[in-house]
């Protein structure tokens, strides 16, 4: 948490802030004292003085500040100035003062002014705004007791009860108690409304839809489904009441509750009623019956899906045939009804040959009627696993037959050709889903080759169409090219070879014509990272225009491990060589981190605003967004990358994000959007979004190791205060917990752990003899880690040899793993350097180890770093030289078109026909330039390491 700012008369106290920022403690205290003497709002000035004293580095002054604050808080008469009370609270939270005292000054103020609603409200709001619900509840109790006719007071109390009932931090007994309280109060509020023939006894009453939605949410979370249904059916509080106002949200709640309560007959009847009201025949002439109260809205998937669930739960011939008839009566005009038919047959609970046949026919009919729509496959996919094997074959056959029937004649309008292409693409998706995605089990490699060629041929045919289509619209044949690329990724999974290169080539070609096809862009960004062309990945990332919320959901696509692929800014030149854009990775990451910090604050601001506006149900939803923003995977990932860029390149920033680490102590929420990738994989397989994550899928454990590294680095840098608990933990750290990391990451963590342990032992007052041994042995261990790094570097040439054998003719190109090895090695070297400098600085002050021997050991380590830097630079430069010139382009073209062995290469031939030599050469040039560019990063980072490897500079 960032230090709260000093405020004066509602504004930031700039004068005091400047002094504190400049660590001019004496002047800051003097300023406060001058203000106290002048009698300028003495409470505010005294509290500010206490806070300044607490912020001083000197322990004596800190204690003086705490005493001063204690005196002010406990004095009589109590503080009554709301701004001062708020400041006391916010600084107490910042200093992590004992929680049980947070409410005391407020309580004393409220008791001193029993009729002052402002103080009680400010007390509640301050506690709520800082998410101290328990103390907010105390304020709410006083609020509703003192102001019983106030609706807000009661609902603020209810909200705190609900938050405590939901909180994972609450003890189970507290959760249960609050569940009871929130239910009891809402039940009273609903009853008060129901019985309100006479005068209301207090403000505890449902007033609007938000209150009602809150009640439903609470009841549902407590499993009180019947009670919730009773409210919904109530004339004064329910769907048709004044506050319910026939809200469609309430209808959706009702079907959900009936399902949760297992009231299948009621659910079935209700769905039928709502659906019949939405039928065009019921709408004209306009009926006044409740059935048609919702009109066309009734034709909603929420209703259809519940009708099917209820039908299959009741499972009688009568209900089944009535549901079938209902679906039939809608099927001409409602796509929902058509999907409902698939669901009805697919989820039938009894194994029945007739039903299976009906499902098969329904699937075939659905394909026939919707194959010219993009969504056809998406509609069908959930129900395909329920088809029998012979029915799957039938579906493919009838699909093929139908698609053939759509084949356009030469003089047909273009629209017909587009429909045919769309239908073909849907058929290909079925093929992919039912067979290709099962490769290698049950599917032979030649089938895959054939499938890729078929996709490419269809794509080529589609190129003649859609010439006038707006650039933002999807082109009918684009998905055929994407399916070809996806199939090649399946091939690459098992056989490596040139499949990945071919994927890149296909998608690059697609984007020439459809630059805004984000399915292609998303896949291509990940592939470009994998083939070692991060600058190309950045170019494509720019095309996506990622901003705002996408920093939380999509930025991972480019930024995962970007610091070990391309940590430097990159100058991107457009194809006509006119426009130049500098893609500054460190700056962009900083901007994304800034956005995260701002978004978390904004969301918090809106949560607080919703509380004041009485939007309680919405408030609970907005609170659910708070954690994904505060401790979201993306935010922490960006922090990891930003820190590593600083370590590897020496880049610096004025902003310090280490306070993000405090937030990370909570539960990390993975908000990366994987579902945005197209997915045609078989249901039991991992989705396609995970397939493009070939390179060390990063998970929460990985993230926590990386955060450990940042934390340790900050400690060695002296920018992080170490508390006793942390020291004890780090001394007992279990190296087993890092087993899932790579060798270099393990080495990195162990090196830093060593450094921090040295610091910890020193601070915990270890005896000089033991400490001396610790240092000497530790430095010797560092040498062994340096040896690991050196071996990784030596292994890079063999690793490269292994890579190039997949291509015919041989071409040495760096891929993602290759680049990461280098940067991983550099990171280890920098960590060794950091530890050496830390130990030497400690020894400089305390002379624990004989300086000459320490110097010898350190000099050896730094020389090792230097040798690694020089070797890395040399290796990268050799590869760069090999890539320069036309040969690399020729070899890449050959690898894409001619394949990797002597057998007939169908895909290569088809690719050549689809893409053409000039296009392929252009793509090969882009790849070559990007490889050279990536190697430039290694050269730069090696030089930086070299420059930092002089012992004198390490100090």
């Amino acid at each position: 948490m960032a230090r709260p700012q000093f405020k004066r008369n509602g504004e930031i106290d700039k004068q005091l802030e400047d002094l504190v920022k400049a660590s001019s403690w004496k002047q800051a205290v003097a300023l406060c004292e001058r203000r106290i003497k002048k009698g300028d709002k003495s409470d505010a000035a005294s509290v500010a003085k206490a806070h300044v004293l607490q912020a001083c580095p000197d322990v004596g002054r800190q204690q003086q500040g705490t005493k001063e604050l204690e005196r002010i808080i406990s004095r009589d008469p109590p503080i009554l100035d709301i701004e001062v009370l708020r400041s006391v609270h916010i600084f107490a939270v910042f200093r992590k003062s004992p929680l049980d005292r947070l409410g005391t000054p407020w309580l004393r103020a409220a008791k001193a002014r029993p009729d002052d609603e402002k103080i009680i409200k400010a007390w509640f709001e301050t506690m709520f705004d800082t998410r101290y619900y328990k103390y907010a509840q105390e304020a709410a109790i006083m609020y509703k007791t003192r102001f019983p006719y106030n609706h807000q007071a009661h609902f603020w109390y209810i909200i705190t009860c609900q938050l405590l009932a939901e909180s994972k931090d609450s003890e189970s007994v507290v959760r249960k108690l609050n569940q009871g309280l929130v239910f009891g109060n809402l039940a009273k509020a609903a009853k008060a409304l129901t019985n309100a023939g006479g005068k209301l006894t207090n403000g505890l009453v449902l007033e609007n839809l938000e209150d009602l939605l809150l009640l439903l949410r609470v009841y549902q979370s407590q499993g009180r489904f019947q009670e919730a249904l009773d409210v919904l059916d109530d004339d004064r509080a329910g769907i048709f009441s004044r506050i319910g106002n026939k809200s469609w949200q309430l209808v959706r709640h009702k079907v959900e509750l009936l399902e949760l309560n297992g009231q299948w007959q009621e659910l079935w009847q209700f769905c039928r009623k709502v659906l019949s009201g939405s039928h065009p025949k019921a709408l004209f002439p306009k009926s006044t019956s409740t059935n048609s109260a919702f009109g066309r809205m009734g034709d909603d998937w929420a209703i259809w899906s519940r009708l099917i669930i209820a039908t299959n739960q009741i499972c009688t011939d009568d209900t089944f045939s009535q549901a079938e008839a209902c679906i039939d009566s809608f099927s001409v005009f409602s796509r929902n009804a058509r999907i409902a038919r698939l669901k009805l047959f697919a989820s039938y609970p009894i194994e029945d040959a007739d039903i299976k046949s009906k499902l098969s026919i329904a699937c075939q009919e659905h394909f026939t009627d919707f194959s010219t729509k993009y969504v056809c496959f998406l509609d069908l996919s959930p129900y395909l696993p329920s088809l029998r094997p012979e029915h799957k074959v039938e579906l493919i056959n009838t699909g093929a037959q139908h698609t053939r029937s759509l084949t356009p004649e030469p003089n047909d309008p273009e629209a017909k050709a587009i429909q045919w292409i769309t239908s073909e693409v849907n058929l290909l998706k079925l093929h992919y889903h039912l067979s290709v995605s099962n490769y290698p089990s049950n599917v032979a490699r030649p089938l895959l080759d054939f499938f890729v060629c078929r996709c490419l041929r269809l794509y080529k045919l589609s190129l003649a169409l859609d010439a006038d289509l707006p650039i933002s619209e999807r082109r009918a044949g684009d998905d055929a090219a994407i399916l070809a690329a996806m199939t090649l990724i399946h091939i690459w999974d098992l056989e490596e070879g040139t499949a990945l290169l071919r994927c890149v080539v296909i998608l690059e070609t697609l984007l020439l014509r459809s630059p805004h096809n984000y399915d292609a862009l998303l896949i291509l960004i990940r592939l470009c990272v994998n083939v070692g062309t991060p600058s190309l990945a950045m170019d494509h990332y720019l095309q996506l225009s990622v901003k705002n919320m996408q920093n939380a959901t999509l930025s991972w696509i480019l930024y995962t491990r970007i610091s070990m692929l391309h940590p430097y800014p990159y100058v991107s030149q457009s194809q006509n060589d006119e426009a130049v854009t500098v893609i500054n990775v460190p700056e962009n990451i900083t901007a994304a981190l800034e956005w995260h910090a701002g978004a978390a604050q904004l969301n918090s601001h809106y949560v607080n605003k919703m509380l004041r506006d009485g939007q309680y149900n919405m408030l609970l939803n907005a609170l659910a967004l708070e954690n994904p923003l505060r401790v979201g995977f993306a935010r922490l990932l960006l922090l990891v990358e930003w820190s590593r860029i600083q370590r590897l390149t020496g880049a610096s920033s004025d902003v310090n994000y280490s306070n993000f680490l405090d937030d990370a102590s909570g539960e990390v929420q993975d908000n990366r959007d994987m579902k945005v990738f197209p997915n045609y994989e078989w249901q039991s397989h991992s989705p396609f979004g995970n397939r493009v994550e070939h390179n060390a899928p990063e998970d929460i454990l990985w993230l926590s190791h990386q955060l450990q590294i940042i934390n340790a680095w900050d400690i060695l840098d002296g920018s992080e205060h170490i508390n006793g608990e942390f020291l004890r933990n780090i001394c007992e750290a279990d190296p087993l917990s890092i087993d899932q990391s790579s060798d270099l990451e393990k080495a990195m963590i162990k090196i830093l752990l060593y450094g921090v342990q040295i610091l910890a032992s020193y601070k915990l007052g270890q005896k000089p003899e033991a400490f001396r041994e610790h240092i000497v042995k530790g430095l010797e261990r560092l040498a062994s880690f340096q040896e690991i790094a050196s071996q990784v570097l030596n292994g890079s040439s063999e690793f490269l040899e292994g890579l190039s054998t997949h291509w015919r003719p041989k071409l040495a190109t760096p891929n993602a793993s290759y680049l990461q090895h280098y940067f991983g090695v550099f990171d280890v070297c920098h960590a060794i350097r950091r530890c050496v400098s830390c130990v030497m600085n400690l020894n400089e002050e305390n002379k624990i180890v004989e300086p000459a021997s320490l110097l010898r050991l350190s000099a050896r380590l730094m020389a090792g770093n230097k040798s690694i830097a020089l070797k890395a630079e040399e290796q990268a430069s050799i590869m760069q030289r090999g890539l320069r010139g036309e040969r690399a382009v020729r070899d890449t073209v050959a690898a894409a078109f001619d394949g990797q062995d002597e057998r007939q290469d169908m895909i290569g031939e088809e690719l050549q026909k689809t893409i053409g030599q000039p296009n392929m050469e252009r793509i090969a040039e882009c790849l070559r330039d990007s490889w050279i560019e990536a190697l430039d990063g290694i050269v730069k980072a090696a030089r930086y390491l070299d420059s930092k490897s002089d012992l004198s500079k390490a100090l």
């Binding site: 809205m297 929902n336 999907i339 933002s472 225009s545 705002n548 919320m549 939803n621 945005v676």
Partner: protein, 189 residues
């Protein structure tokens, strides 16, 4: 299916917001609409729970002191954003979302619903015409950029559909394409 927008949806809007013509606003923009006009901010979900489209709208009027001007806007609904993910177009979702907004505006007794659309977005203009909207005026060079990189600037059509309150159809006109106004003539409260 249609349902009101909720804050968690912000984490799941990529299918729509990656579209180059869909503006990807910051969090506070969505939050403001959700809080002030909850019944006019609707999302469409598919059977897999993915957000396939959404409609953001509001009801407002120009300040009373502008009533003397020809360009004065009475209490009306406004389509701020309507987007459908490219894969889910031509299924009638835009119509469903627009109908939902119109219903919300009827509930709030608005005179008409209006929207701005790029003149060159023929698909959208055609779709709105089918739904009963007509061009009320042309706002010259309203869009200063073209997100697809096509050209420098573009006119907007201000299209309107009268609601039940406008019995005499006094807030729509014929041949509005030829009625030109400048962006500065509009009130940007």
């Amino acid at each position: 299916m249609l349902r009101p927008f909720c804050p968690q949806d912000l984490l799941n809007m990529n299918l729509t917001n990656l579209d180059p013509l869909t503006e990807n606003y910051n969090l506070d923009f969505y939050m403001q609409y959700m809080m002030r006009w909850p019944s006019l901010f609707t999302v469409a979900e598919d059977q897999h729970g993915r957000i396939t489209g959404y409609m953001m709208g509001k009801v407002e009027e120009d300040p009373i002191y502008l009533k003397v001007l020809d360009t004065y806007m009475p209490w009306h609904g406004h389509v701020t954003a309507l987007t459908i993910a490219p894969q889910y177009r031509r299924l009638g979702l835009a119509q469903d979302l627009t109908t939902a907004l119109e219903r919300g505006c009827e509930d709030q007794d608005a005179w008409f619903v209006d929207l701005f659309v790029r003149e060159g977005n023929h698909t959208a203009v055609g779709m709105y015409r089918k739904m009963g909207y007509s061009v009320f005026r042309r706002v010259v060079d309203y869009y200063s950029d073209d997100p697809t990189g096509g050209k420098d600037g573009e006119d907007a059509f201000d299209m309107r559909k009268p609601l039940t309150r406008d019995k005499k159809k006094q807030h729509v006109r014929k041949n509005g394409e030829n009625f030109r106004v400048n962006p500065e003539d509009l009130y940007h409260g």
